[in-house]
Subunit: 272 residues, 2 copies
């Protein structure tokens, strides 16, 4: 990976993590995020808005410190008004890395959506600041974010609920806890709405590191499932009745373990 | 569908059912099997070997009778010696349709494998007698039969156990209770061993009716997942360590609801 370009011309990395990332023994995903953000020069802002637990932000601050981050701060934002606080925005602007924790992604979209904090995250990432988010913090990366849906394998009409996310990766629709919570059905439902979307299913303790050139690398102990509907020959989504099982012809699927790479623009996987 | 060709030159239908097929309200899958087998002229032999319950055979005999089958008989085969009984073989030979119930597919392969009963089922089907089997009776249709494996979405090295089946559909590897028991992982593991296999995941109360020309039609209330690895660009199966997550690039997938058709020889799906 290239060395971090803090507030340079190049976009920062975008790192959605599938949740439940390893924190104690060999926390590879988080360590690579800290290194990318500058290690001892890193300034990492943690946004624990999705979580309802009081200590989530502090816990991650401590953890990133242990992993070598020079400066960490947790930014408490539990109401939309707090997402306009100039002191808080000043802290956020000093970041070399931004981390959004897990919890409820609807808290992220309803509390942060359209606020100066959301605008600044997008701007900073475009300027080279790295973004990582786990679970809800991964889902919010999508422009079209999955907020709920049917469990299981088989997609159905109405089998997924979408909401606008942060849109740091516009063509991806990202789901998390993917194998663990059996979420193929809702990911397939999502891509079948509009095949321009690439479906990304992240297992727990597994992340994709999306480089500025839009190629991602898989890091972590699980797998990443990529569902590409761009060659789809038929989807019954438009005609299906409420809750009906869908017919989808010619979906492309890749299962990617650690080290595998995928080029988002050309939709081509590569092994290392 | 063409009219039934009893002991003609054309092969009989092969009908694997994903288990838990509807038996009371609108039992479409079973009814179509009875009609195909000749309705009031049908002679349906039921082989309940997979089941450990005493009344499974009789229960299906009664059910097929209700659905209009002229003659039904349940053939008790709990030991290999019984699968050589001339009186039983004579009954079996009179069938226009053969039905194997659910239970443990290893009972089917260990008790029936290589016996005169297994040979006769293959011969009769080749001569035009229709075969249907549910759950274990569907799995045994495969030449390479899934007998166990990992639950979940992500395939792993060692994530599936195969055993020789009846081989009524050589290129298919058939799994059942597919969505309900979350079996994508083991189906993907199976096709990644050798991409000549087409993976078929049958949901409960859902069947494929494989016609003599090797095109199948989906019947029932659930979906059929087809995984086609013939265009696979890379599989890490050969290099993966024990239990390791696999990388599989460029799998093709189709989700087929009732009425959808798939041509096994050309590997092409069609909507009706």
């Amino acid at each position: 990976m290239p060395s971090p370009s803090v507030k340079g011309q190049q976009r920062g990395y975008v790192i959605p993590i599938g949740g439940a990332e390893e924190k104690v023994n060999d926390p590879e995903v988080l360590r690579r995020f800290v290194e990318l953000s500058g290690g001892s020069d890193a300034v990492i802002s943690i946004i624990p808005t999705a979580s309802q637990l009081k200590d989530t932000g502090k816990r991650y601050a401590k953890l990133f410190g242990k992993l070598g981050a020079g400066t960490t701060h947790s930014l408490t934002i539990n109401e939309r008004s707090e997402a306009e606080d100039p002191a808080l925005l000043e802290k956020l602007e000093s970041s070399t890395g931004i981390f959004i924790t897990g919890g409820n992604q609807l808290r992220l979209s309803t509390i942060l959506g359209g606020t100066p904090v959301a605008q600044m995250i997008r701007k900073l990432n475009a300027q080279g600041v790295h973004y990582a988010g786990t679970s809800a913090g991964a889902a919010i990366v999508s422009q079209h974010m999955i907020v709920g849906g049917t469990t299981g394998l088989v997609p159905t009409e109405g089998g997924v609920n979408l909401a606008p996310g942060l849109g740091l990766a516009n063509t991806l629709v990202i789901d998390q806890h993917f194998s663990e919570r059996n979420r193929m059905a809702r990911l397939l439902s999502a891509v079948s709405f509009n095949p321009f979307l690439i479906g990304i299913g992240l297992d727990e303790d597994t992340a994709i590191f999306i480089a500025p050139d839009n190629e991602f690398t898989v890091v972590g102990s699980g797998s990443v499932t990529v569902v590409d509907a761009s060659d789809i020959e038929y989807s019954s989504m438009a005609e299906a009745g409420s809750g009906e099982a869908l017919t989808l012809l010619n979906l492309k699927m890749h299962i990617l373990a650690a080290g595998s790479r995928y080029d988002i623009d050309s939709r081509q996987p590569h092994i290392t």
